[in-house]
Amino acid sequence: MLRRIVDWIDERTHARDLYREQMIDYKVPKNLTFPYVFGVLALITFVIQIVSGIILIMYYKPVMAHAFDSVNYTIMKEISFGWLFRHIHAAGANFFLAIVYLHMFTGIYYNAYKKPRELVWMVGWVIYFTLLTTALTGYLLPWGQLSYWGTVVTTEIPASLADAPILKSIFAAIGETISIWMKGGYKLEDLALGRFFGLHVLLLPLVLLALVSVHLFLVRAAGISNPEGYEIDKKNEPEKLAPFHPYVTLKEGAVAMGYLALFFFFVFFNMSHFLPADNFEPADPLKTPPHIAPEWYLLGFYEVFRSIPSKFWGFVAFNLILILLLLLPFLDFSPFKSARRRPLFFIMFLVFLFSSMILTILGTMAPTPTNAQLGMFFTFLVFLFFLSLPVISFLEWGWYKARGGRS
């Protein structure tokens, strides 16, 4: 009976053909390494965020008078398993960005942004940027001291344009306009909370959903990159390929289970970082907490911003890093792919990776002059990575030609 129902559906949808085409006939390199799993882990975390977010929306009240209590009383104490969904959502936000960063560094390491995958990278960058905005808007919603003051600092950052060396008044007007537009006025109040809520629960998740779909489509269209850095010839090297299912799906499924075990370890037993103590104090516009810093995923950019003595150049520097990341496929025009086969690129990748990590950790520390000097040094190293890419590419073109055009 069940089989007849399935056959009836299949006759009308051709679902079996679609499954065969997309899961079995679709071939991927056999030598995919462990970091290739980060993509699917990000997807799983996205689903977790959507589901837990839908549950939290049912009880959250985006009004100044009720926001804090709806999170800390209604959700945490009144609703059955409300605490669990809040823990999942808070940990999920951090895990999502952690996985996205690991996914991005994997992409950079294996040069997965190069032809024919430039669009995959660029859409991925837009996903990353949208994700940062989603995290930022969600951070305000609990209406605690960190939520409030973290958002005040963030929305004031564009105002640093007023520190411009030339055309001060024009830059100041632009900065102030952006800042007021973000806050919905000169103060963070109900208007801002409502806007941030709307963006966080509706617009940004929908944009993310669309972007993730496009990203997946592009990954399928261009094929998964090969860690060895060359495109496998499907006709002449079929032994190097394997069907997506079950070869990759079961491998990623097993890793995903381990990932979920780790995720739920944090959800049940270690939430102190994801629900910081300062945020259990209701937002008070008249009381600035002693240590305000953005969440860890923004600390690298924050350290770049605060270590440069001029606010204007700090603002330009961290935005430039974001733009350079977007333009990575065009900065790196070498004919070679993958850090495995590019020693110079490998060294600069290490410089970039460790500088980013150190900048993030420096961002957690008190803003001392030594911290600022170290911040500037590692900011220089981050820029050195981007600036080195065209030089390395130029050198590698020479080697490529010397080898007679063989990569």
Partner: protein, 233 residues
């Protein structure tokens, strides 16, 4: 895997784990304050049976200036208003507790705007006296931790110089003062944390969930290995 691949794997895995350990679990570089908590006080704070006594001490000593709305405690002057019990019942939500196997109403959770509207005069008087409205303490255990609260209640001026909070407990005259403070903190802890039975349930739930995913991961891995060997991979 050759030696160079192994070196790279160890380096990248180690750096990633170390980075997330520092960022998510223990960061020795970030500024943080620590407050001493004597052993006796720690024992009282961690023992749920002192919470009931702490609640009474809170009502006697703290409720003149502070509310603790998540447990149905409001400013004493507000709670004494004739209309307050009606406000609680019409605008608030009952906070239930189990006593002798029955659910009884422990107090009412009244929304902040309703409470502040009824208490506007009382809050303004406190503001005029202390320079600011003393905060509601419902979540302060989570925000400040036991060490800070114990030291602050015992001697507010030493922990926060210039604070308008008076010193209410004098260990030099009252031998029970330190224990009383610890009991108040024990009460604040009981409001912020789930009761012991619920905590045990959550721990069990966590262990079962984690165990389930680990077992599933291993089973999928074994199934994959068998399947791929059958398929000739």
């Amino acid at each position: 895997m050759n030696v160079w691949s192994a070196v790279k794997t160890v380096m990248f895995t180690g750096a990633t784990l170390l980075f997330f350990f520092v960022i998510w679990i223990y960061n020795p570089f970030s500024p943080h304050e620590e407050y001493e908590l004597p052993e006796e006080a720690e024992q009282i704070i961690n023992d749920p049976k002192f919470a009931a006594e702490g609640r009474e001490l809170f009502k006697q000593n703290c409720a003149s200036c502070h509310s603790l709305r998540y447990d149905g405690i409001y400013l004493a002057s507000v709670a004494a208003k004739p209309e307050w019990s009606k406000v609680e019942k019409t605008q608030g939500k009952p906070i239930l507790e189990e006593k002798d196997g029955k659910l009884v109403v422990r107090g009412y959770f009244v929304p902040r705007d309703v409470y502040e509207a009824v208490a506007v005069q009382d809050l303004e008087s406190l503001k005029a006296t202390f320079g600011k409205v003393p905060p509601d303490l419902s979540t302060y255990y989570l925000a400040r931790g036991p060490g800070y609260l114990y030291q602050f209640i015992l001697d507010p001026g030493r922990v926060l110089p210039g604070t308008s909070m008076p010193k209410l407990f004098m260990p030099e005259y009252d031998k029970e003062a330190t224990r009383k403070v610890a009991k108040i903190v024990a009460y604040m802890r009981s409001v912020s944390e789930p009761p012991p039975g619920e905590k045990a349930k959550r721990t069990l739930m966590g262990m079962v969930t984690i165990g389930y995913f680990l077992v599933m991961g291993v089973l999928i891995w074994i199934y994959r290995k068998r399947l791929l060997s059958k398929m000739g991979y």
